[in-house]
């Protein structure tokens, strides 16, 4: 049984403004469209630096990975004046880290385990 996805949004000011999406629940075939819609909403509202807090994600399915990749493509052209935006991931659980490693996503996404460091790296 898939667990519902909850998404809370907050703003942080590092070197640049960063929008943090705090995700809780499962990110799979039943919930990934909610994430895509929320990301499109914040990007549409002007966000160009996104940090996904994955500490509350219990299960990451391939549809969730697909959604993260699609958002990373979108954010690359989301910066104001055509400059590239950035997307990073924060604190995946061990189970989600294993999925990233097996599928090789850990080589292509910036993954952090510390909020301060993540904010500085934008």
């Amino acid at each position: 049984m898939s667990s519902a996805l909850r998404i809370a949004v907050s703003e942080e000011k590092g070197n640049v403004p960063v929008t943090i999406l705090h995700l809780t629940g499962d990110l799979d075939g039943k919930t990934y469209q909610e994430l895509e819609a929320k990301a499109a909403e914040v990007i549409g509202a002007g966000a160009s630096n996104l940090l996904f807090d994955l500490s509350g994600i219990g299960f990451m399915g391939s549809a969730g990975l697909r959604a993260l990749h699609a958002i990373s493509n979108k954010i690359k052209t989301a910066g104001r004046g055509g400059s590239a935006g950035k997307m990073m991931l924060l604190n995946p659980t061990d189970a989600v880290s294993r999925v990233f490693k097996t599928l090789g996503f850990d080589q292509h996404f910036s993954i952090h385990t510390n909020l301060e460091e993540a904010l500085k790296s934008f």
């Binding site: 075939g29 391939s62 697909r66 990749h69 493509n73 599928l103 090789g104 996503f105 080589q107 292509h108």
Partner: protein, 292 residues
């Protein structure tokens, strides 16, 4: 109402018109559902043709494969083929992300690109030496990855793939594991080796190079590969079959590839019982006989 028959007629006429519209809508929905069902049945039949209808006969080896879609069509795939001239055998298993029709369309693309880029090439000799086999593996995975990542990059569709090329005479297996669950080499003493990923999934990241690794499959050993639909299968209580249970099952061995696939599939079917199948389930195996 009896004193105003024209009002009664008008009321009845309106009622009939409404009922007629409802029946028409229901009929239209039923027809559309039937058409969709028929189209899916055709898609299922066509997709089945993308799986090997005949398992190649390979001297000294037995091959077996099984795929059970969770829905009408599958995102999983497997393939067996013999490379012309050099005679080595392609063993492929893959799992396209997500489920349903989109995954199924991409399954046909991944499977066909891997097969065609392996079968039709002119850059290697006619011997099944490891250098040529390595070239074929690299060429096939590189072209498939780059084509999909550049031509269909906006779709963010990807697939995990294990692609092994077996040299039947020696038992040498050269392989690329693109983000797939580690296939297992099983002998009389249980699992001898796990063929861990040698690079990421394909279809997303252009310009990546997958490492090619090699292992010898010894007489009386089997190669067993599966998709995560096997380990993630759930029963009515919502419990997962789990990787640990699958590894224990595989470690207990089987005399042939067919027996191993049958053992895994029948165990999973008993575990799932009346529960809905959560994901596509695919299992392939290759067993090497004893040397006479």
């Amino acid at each position: 109402m009896a004193r105003r028959p024209e009002a009664a007629y008008s009321f009845i006429e309106a009622l009939c018109h409404r009922e007629s519209a409802l029946v028409h809508d229901a009929t239209e929905r039923a027809v559309k559902a039937k058409v969709t069902e028929r189209e899916l049945a055709i898609a299922q039949k066509i997709q089945r043709s993308f799986l090997p209808d005949v398992v190649p006969e390979v001297q000294g080896w037995k091959l077996a494969g099984f795929l059970q879609p969770a829905r009408e069509v599958a995102g999983d795939f497997y393939d067996f083929f013999v490379i012309p001239k050099i005679g080595c055998v392609g063993l492929v298993i893959g799992d396209v992300c997500d489920k349903g029709v989109g995954s199924a369309l991409f399954m046909t693309l991944f499977r066909s690109l891997i097969r065609s880029t392996s079968m039709y090439r002119d850059f290697v000799g006619n011997d099944s030496n490891a250098d040529d086999v390595t070239k074929i593996l690299r060429h096939s995975i590189k072209l498939t990855n780059e084509y999909i990542a550049t031509t269909h990059g906006d779709s963010s569709m990807f697939s995990s793939v294990f692609y092994g090329l077996l040299i039947p005479e020696t038992g040498q297996l050269c392989y690329i594991n693109a983000g797939h669950e580690a296939p297992l080499i099983v002998g009389v003493n249980g699992i001898r080796a796990r063929l861990e990923p040698t690079g990421p999934v394909i279809g997303l990241f252009p310009d990546i190079v997958h490492e090619v690794k090699m292992i010898d499959i010894l007489p009386n050993e089997l190669l067993v590969a599966y998709t995560d639909g096997a380990t993630d299968a759930k029963n009515l209580a919502g419990e997962q079959f789990s990787e640990d249970n699958l590894l224990a099952l595989v470690a207990s061995g089987a005399p042939t590839a067919n027996a191993m696939v049958h053992k895994i599939v029948s165990t999973l079917e008993a575990f799932i019982g009346e529960a809905d199948q959560y994901d596509d389930i695919t299992v392939i195996a290759a067993s090497r006989g004893s040397i006479e």
